[in-house]
């Protein structure tokens, strides 16, 4: 038997050790991006979530003007954190539609009274069916949709101050 063969098990172990060490030290990545980016909006129709705003269907997202589609819930804490940024986006001229995930009209009304209402339409997604159609895995998430109804971007998590100009730029490019 040749000499180097004797070192083979140790070499294999070293390789295994390095693989495990790298795996342990790499920070965990729990973010699941939607595979729907670049694809047209799936067809859906949701009833109104509160009395003051109409419901939302996929047709409302195909009228030639780019839009933001925000998925939120009154029971979601990061949704409170992003509320001022959504208002800022709306004041800058962005049209924002919303999907309320697993929520009741009373809770949504309270939430919007307290933190502001930047939405022109709010659909109530009581069983997450539209969220699953969109490849969305939580709240809050924000989709940028161009005038033809194609999903061009997915923002996962709350919108921070620094994301506002990015999103406005994307809306402009999506025209």
């Amino acid at each position: 038997m040749r000499r180097w063969v004797l070192w083979l098990p140790l070499g294999l172990f070293a390789l295994f050790f390095v693989a495990v060490a790298v795996g342990l030290m790499t920070p965990k990545d729990n973010i699941i991006e939607s595979k729907m980016i670049g694809k047209p909006m799936p067809a859906f129709s949701l009833p109104a979530a509160i009395e003051q705003r109409p419901g939302l269907s996929s047709n409302d997202l195909v009228d030639g003007k780019p839009k933001l589609l925000n998925i939120f819930a009154s029971w979601c804490v990061p949704c409170i954190a992003e509320a001022p940024q959504l208002l800022e986006l709306q004041q800058a001229g962005a049209e924002i539609h919303a999907i309320a995930s697993r929520d009741t009209p009373g809770d949504i009304a309270n939430f919007l009274n307290r933190w502001g209402n930047p939405y022109s339409r709010i659909g109530s997604d009581a069983t997450s069916s539209v969220q699953l159609e969109l490849g969305s895995s939580g709240v809050p998430e924000t989709f940028v949709i161009n005038g033809k109804g194609i999903i061009v971007h997915q923002h996962i998590g709350d919108i921070r101050k620094e994301n506002v100009p990015e999103l406005l730029k994307m809306l402009k490019e999506a025209e």
């Binding site: 699941i32 939607s34 929520d103 009741t104 069983t127 997450s128 895995s137």
Partner: protein
């Protein structure tokens, strides 16, 4: 008796009420009437990953969204879709990540080929051993 009622009350699962004010989706915790369809649905639910609690299957998870996914699976099976159609519908939206039965792709083929490779290597090693013994005798 009064204590018993009190303790049952104490230990009842309140966690479901913690996150969302809505009841679970219609088929989240209710089986399909047809046993064959329910069997197909539950087999698929064991193989789909929960989006909220990512190391569990949707069959194991109590997350409201896992319940919504179970309901979707049962409703689609009841409507006549095959488990593979439902799996592909989810893969189109979330990627291969969502299934615990990963398809063979350039990323995953070593996983499938490794056992075969190891068997061949073992057979080759064993063959060497047997031959040496014969030579000595």
């Amino acid at each position: 008796m009064r204590y018993l009622v009190f303790f049952i009350f104490l230990t009842a699962a309140w966690s479901a009420a913690a996150q969302t004010g809505l009841p679970p989706a219609p088929y989240a915790n209710q089986q399909l009437a047809d046993p064959a369809k329910e069997a197909a649905a539950s087999e698929l639910m064991e193989e789909l990953r929960c989006l909220k609690c990512q190391s569990q299957s949707i069959a194991d998870s109590n997350a409201p969204m896992a319940g919504d996914m179970r309901s979707q699976v049962r409703e689609r099976i009841a409507a006549g879709e095959t488990p593979e159609q439902i799996r592909n519908w989810l893969i189109d939206r979330y990627g291969n990540w969502v299934t615990y039965d990963p398809p063979v792709t350039p990323m995953t083929w070593p996983l499938w080929i490794a056992p075969i490779f190891m068997l061949i290597a073992a057979a080759w090693l064993a063959r060497g051993r047997f031959r040496r013994k014969k030579d000595k005798s």
